[in-house]
Amino acid sequence: MTQPNVHRHDRRFGYAMIAPAVAIILFIGLFPLIWTLLVSVQNISMIDEDTSFQGLLNYQRLMSDTRFWEALGHTLMFTAVALPLELILGLALALLFLEELPGRPVFVALLVLPTVISPIVAGAAWRLLFDNRFGPINQVISWMAGEPVTILWLNDPNFVYAAILIAEVWQWTPFMFLLLFASLTNVDPSLSEAARIDGAGFWRTLWSIILPVIRPVIVIALLIRGLDLFRIFDVIWALTKGGPGTRTETISIYAYVQGFQQFETSYTAAMAFVIIVILTVLVMAALKRVEIAR
């Protein structure tokens, strides 16, 4: 493609066109960052408006705050479990629908629905399903067990992670499915046909032929979902608000609690900045390992 000759007049027009967007993105991208950094080295809280320079006081406090590290641990755990589950289940669904099937467009259209609803609504639905007295899940388990089973899904520390993961994986597996399904249908069928003629089995064909072709899409899907999971808030807020105790608290929820319930302004700012740093490091590491197709 030849580079078109951009006139000076056009260049000025271009800058005028991007100016409003740049101004607004700076407002949410740059202002919060600078403000966060500034306030994090002060000592502002509800009781104290101390704006003097405190050095790394808040960061030191954060380093020894086990609740923060536990929240980070929960966040990474949810991400580490949900992300592969969603990918594998999404891929399995995509393969199920890859060949022609009666009513296939209807199935696809219906399977998409969980992904587009508000995560708060998804949380509400699962709250009703998991209810220990009037929810159908305990009823079905009791029926299968042959005796009354009462699981306190959202209060029992042994079950609450499973409950959150079920809701999360339920909502976002269709997202993975849709992306993988669309990219699989774009793969030239003669590729896997040729592999089959050469004697490759189903798994061999999948692993060596199909997956490498759709790899860029898998990478982007994982990146989008990974970033969403790292800041997971809504569905957990709707299900447990981080409870019981602080067992399902994620970094977003803990930062919310510190900032908007404890009013620890400077401390929350330090936390926010550390979250940005961790996120940047993780994204850089992820991008290093995969070359993003543009």
Binding site: V6, D10, F13, G14, Y15, M17, I18, A21, I24, I25, I28, G29, F31, P32, T36, L96, E99, L101, P102, A109, L111, V112, L113, P114, T115, V116, I117, S118, I120, V121, A124, A125, L128, F134, G135, P136, W170, T173, L178, L179, A182, N186, V217, I220, A221, F230, R231, F233, D234, A238, I251, S252, A255, G259, F260, T268, A269, I276, L279, V283
Partner: protein, 268 residues
């Protein structure tokens, strides 16, 4: 035979995935006795609408209106500003590659990090619990998405059409408004609907930045969760009111769905 098995599995999977939505919808039609019965009632005896009329009577539906106002106005604003920016990037490569990557990277910033300083700024400016405050933030947060998606759609418009309009004496701005925008209308429409859905479903910003005047429906939903007295009827009815518009939007947009949620990575 293999197709038959696949079909059965497909039906089972679909039922499994739709069951939570089915459950939510049916509870909204149940009577209080049916909601709080054991064993649970799997099919309501009649489709009575009292759970909905309660929402109207108590004035809770105002939160649906609030969501509608905030999501529509912020969508229009983000589309306007974002499409202008996308056009400059697509046609003149304004700002170069780094600029468009920078715009996209803004989408990765966790909302909790943004909302905290914004909240304190809004307190000073008196923007907490106002339409304007929420609209500004939603516009800003959806802007990277609009720019990125519209860049993709605008790049697909052949340059020659614009060149000939320029030769005919149109200004650049006229080419943009009279030639480019009409040609990009399906892309504009699809992107706008997704932007609307994101704003409509958004929770954290609304939780922080609303008190009572402009509470959006997801925030209202969480107000119903409380200790032992969950308002199940209200939770389900409000959820349905907040979900049906989304389902309608998606039904119209099947063709653009994949492209819309994959940030343009898969053309579908």
């Amino acid at each position: 035979m293999r197709t038959a098995i696949r079909f059965v599995v497909a039906v089972m999977v679909t039922v499994l995935f739709l069951f939570p939505i089915y459950w939510l919808f049916t509870i909204s039609f149940k009577t209080p006795d049916e909601i709080f019965s054991y064993p649970p009632v799997w099919w309501p005896s009649s489709f009575q609408l009292s759970n909905y009329t309660v929402l109207f009577r108590d004035g809770d539906v105002i939160t649906i209106w609030n969501s509608l106002v905030v999501a529509s106005v912020s969508t229009v604003a983000a589309m306007l500003i974002g499409t202008m920016c996308a056009y400059a990037i697509a046609r003149f490569r304004t700002g170069g590659d780094h600029f468009s990557i920078w715009v996209l990277s803004q989408r990765m910033v966790p909302p909790i990090v943004v909302v905290f300083p914004i909240f304190l700024l809004y307190v000073k400016l008196g923007l907490v619990d106002t339409y304007l405050g929420l609209i500004i933030l939603y516009t800003a947060f959806n802007l990277p998405y609009v720019v990125w998606m519209m860049r993709g759609y605008l790049q697909e418009i052949p340059r020659e059409i614009e060149e000939s309009a320029l030769v005919d004496g149109c200004t650049r701005l006229q080419v943009f408004t009279k030639i480019v925008l009409p040609l990009a209308r399906t892309g504009l429409f699809a992107t706008a609907v997704f932007t609307f859905v994101f704003a409509w479903n958004e929770f954290l910003f609304a939780l922080v930045l609303t008190r009572s005047a402009v509470t959006t429906f997801p925030v209202q939903l969480t107000h119903y969760f409380g200790g032992q007295s969950n308002f199940w009827a209200k939770i389900s009815a409000m959820s349905v009111l907040g979900t049906v518009p989304i389902f309608l939007a998606v039904a119209f947009l099947q063709r653009y769905l994949v492209r819309g949620i994959s940030l343009g990575a898969v053309k579908g």
